[in-house]
């Protein structure tokens, strides 16, 4: 299937505050949030982006929605480069691409009624007011809040977490988008409620034929949402492949550590020792070559000299590791 979203050699550096010495030396230190990321997302696909805090996954999501601009590289949506979008084309992109917020308790303005919160995107998109009621009703049906009169005049604090997350999803769907980026969509919800929201997101995606990106730190969760997963480490993609392959047979040493670290609710599960040491290095001064090398149990000389390219090892499976190529 043709790619709906295409990310090419994207680099994103954020400036950081400078020390006196750096000011004197005219140094401009940056955090390398993303350092050369390329991938494509086919229309109708659901892709997970997983990694630890600071790996660049949230920045990547924001770039795909044109909420921030890349330092270098380009992103295109439906064949058009996001960098060049202006006027009506930009407004149309804003309608088609929506963000589902992380924390439903923060995502809605506490002083707006639910109606106002859900109508806001319609107002911003310039949709005629006569259409609002129908569109809101349709979005609420999609998220299984059919008796919408019970909710529309309420304020966010009067709803439970599960109801709020449904409202947040309805708000993202009200403009009938094609592309959804969900950043940790269920991390704040209780377990018994979370499962229902995950099922709902899958159902909505299938029913509307959406293309979706799920950003999460939780590999165990994305397994229930996405067939494909990108694993990120310090601003680079280290592995990109079928989620089940990555979970069952992770190829990159970092993916292996991530899989081994995820606790499982089964007390009889054998406990493997963590095949990794130390902490994620400072993103201002990442290691040369492979960024994982200083924590990698298999690192050798070449890893310090050249960054491993992300290369296909099988159909739809790419790994950035010198061991895979050698």
């Amino acid at each position: 299937m043709a790619a709906l979203v295409s990310v090419r050699d994207v680099v994103k550096h954020f400036p950081v505050s400078r020390s006196l010495g750096e000011v004197v030396r005219r140094a401009r230190p940056v955090v390398r949030a993303l350092d050369g990321v390329s991938f494509e997302v086919g229309a109708g696909d659901a892709v997970a982006i997983v990694g630890e805090s600071g790996c660049g996954k949230t920045t990547l999501g924001r770039l795909m929605l044109k909420l921030v601009e890349p330092t270098t590289g380009s992103i295109s949506f439906d064949g058009a480069a996001l960098g060049g979008l202006k006027g009506p084309a930009l407004r149309e992109f804003r309608r088609q691409a929506q963000l589902v917020f992380q924390n439903p308790f923060d995502a809605l303005n506490p002083r707006f009624t639910i109606y106002r919160a859900v109508a806001e995107p319609l107002v911003n998109a310039g949709i005629a007011e006569a259409e609002h009621a129908d569109r809101i009703a349709a979005a609420f049906r999609r998220v299984h809040l059919p008796d919408l009169d019970r909710y529309l005049d309420k304020y966010p604090h009067q709803l439970s977490g599960g109801q709020l997350q449904r409202v947040v999803l309805a708000r993202a769907l009200v403009l009938a988008p094609r592309f959804l980026v969900a950043d940790e969509p269920v991390s704040m919800l209780d377990v018994s409620v979370r499962a229902g929201i995950l099922a709902l997101m899958r159902e909505v995606r299938d029913a509307m034929g959406l293309t979706a990106i799920y950003i999460s730190h939780d590999l165990a969760l994305v397994r229930y949402l996405c067939d494909r997963t990108l694993v990120m480490y310090l601003g680079t993609i280290v592995e990109d492949g079928p989620t089940e392959e990555i979970v069952r047979r992770p190829r990159h040493p970092y993916s292996r550590a991530l899989v081994a670290a995820v606790p499982v609710p089964d007390p009889d599960q054998s406990r493997q020792p963590l095949p990794i040491k130390g902490n994620v290095p400072d993103a201002r001064e990442p290691p040369s070559g492979c960024r994982f090398r200083d924590r990698c149990p298999h690192a050798f000389a070449r890893c310090a000299d050249e960054p491993p390219p992300l290369r296909a090892i099988a159909d739809g499976h790419r790994v950035a590791c010198h061991l895979e190529i050698a």
Partner: protein, 341 residues
């Protein structure tokens, strides 16, 4: 048992009436074991731990029950001298327990000199020893909390809790805010310390996979009450209470073949006005008419040095049978015949 909690009742006075945050919770912590106190938000697990330490919020009060530490009943009038020396606390967010304007070392030294009887020099040596114990380099003692990563701050908070050699460690979601790899490193550190220092530990968490990894026993709370408890292998492996069964189905498992998570319909009851009978009745696919009127008592059997597997369910005798039904997602789609909303 190093700690026994018996029929604990904690009430919060609110504008909406009295909230029974903990309503008759009983559990015991065997010496040298790690007990997981698990449940969803609002189940009373954090309140229970705060009550053990005698540090409830201003509008909270103990309305009944007993807390017995090393054979001696304790309440807010006599827990203060025990804190740090006998009972220590590790918070969820170490950032909020560490003072941003003092170095981490200075804060540990303060605990050692003010709460303990260490002199300044001895305290500094002990602080270095504690940092080493939790896997931090002693030259980081001079750093301020903001110079630490989340995992390092959590290690520092553990070091501080261990300063005066307590015998019981209460940890409230100690790894929840951390990335999985850091989380695993901290859990491994906690386990190593517990064995080396012969600590007893209560680990409050919403995460049953953390319980499965670290704990020896587990106490499952729902709506202010303990609904099931016992050895982790039994409670998580062969749950007897329908809520625990539902929790297992709803919890993501990286290694499971089932690619479907099954939610528990509905949400927990309002604790200002809890339903009579078993509080899980409105969400329970196995509820009988009697469940909505008569609460099931939970036993407190002992099994050797630890606690036996017990559950507060009227249908406990059929637990093995119900468990096979609980594995079928269809069971949980059917709303309870006794749903109130």
């Amino acid at each position: 048992m190093i700690l026994e909690v018996d029929g604990l009742q904690i009430h919060y006075g609110t504008a909406g009436g009295t909230v029974r945050a903990v309503d008759g919770a009983s559990f015991a912590v065997p010496e040298g074991r790690i007990v997981g106190l698990v449940g969803e938000s609002g189940c009373g697990k954090t309140t229970a731990v705060r009550a053990i330490m005698g540090v409830l919020a201003e509008n909270g009060r103990r309305a009944g029950g007993r807390v017995v530490f090393k054979g001696k009943p304790i309440d807010e009038t006599n827990t203060r001298p025990l804190l740090w020396r006998d009972i220590a606390y590790v918070p969820q967010s170490a950032m909020s327990s560490l003072d941003p304007v003092y170095t981490v070392g200075a804060q540990i030294v303060e605990v050692l000199t003010k709460r303990g009887r260490h002199g300044k020099t001895a305290a500094r040596a002990r602080a270095a020893e504690l940092f080493d114990l939790v896997g931090l380099s002693e030259n980081r003692l001079r750093d301020y909390p903001h110079q630490f990563s989340g995992g390092m701050r959590q290690r520092a908070a553990i070091a501080m809790a261990l300063a005066l050699e307590p015998s019981l460690l209460l940890a409230d979601e100690p790894v929840t805010a951390l990335d999985v790899i850091v989380q695993r490193q901290i859990l491994d550190t906690l386990r190593a310390l517990q064995q080396r220092l012969k600590l007893s530990m209560v680990l409050v968490t919403h995460d049953i996979s953390v319980v499965a990894y670290l704990c020896d026993e587990v106490v499952v709370m729902y709506a202010g009450q303990v609904i099931e408890s016992g050895p982790v292998r039994e409670v998580l492996g062969r749950p007897r209470h329908p809520y625990t069964m539902g929790l297992r189905n709803a919890f993501p498992d990286l290694m499971s073949d089932a690619l479907e998570l099954v939610p528990i319909a509905g949400s927990p009851p309002d604790l200002a006005d809890p339903p009579p009978g078993c509080r899980f009745t409105p969400r329970c696919p196995f509820a009988l008419a009697a469940c909505s009127t008569r609460p099931a008592a939970i036993g407190s059997d002992r099994a050797g040095a630890g606690n036996a597997h017990v559950s507060a369910c009227l249908r406990d005798g059929e637990a093995d049978h119900l468990r096979t039904f609980a594995l079928d997602p269809v069971t949980w789609q059917r709303s309870s015949a006794y749903a109130t909303s």
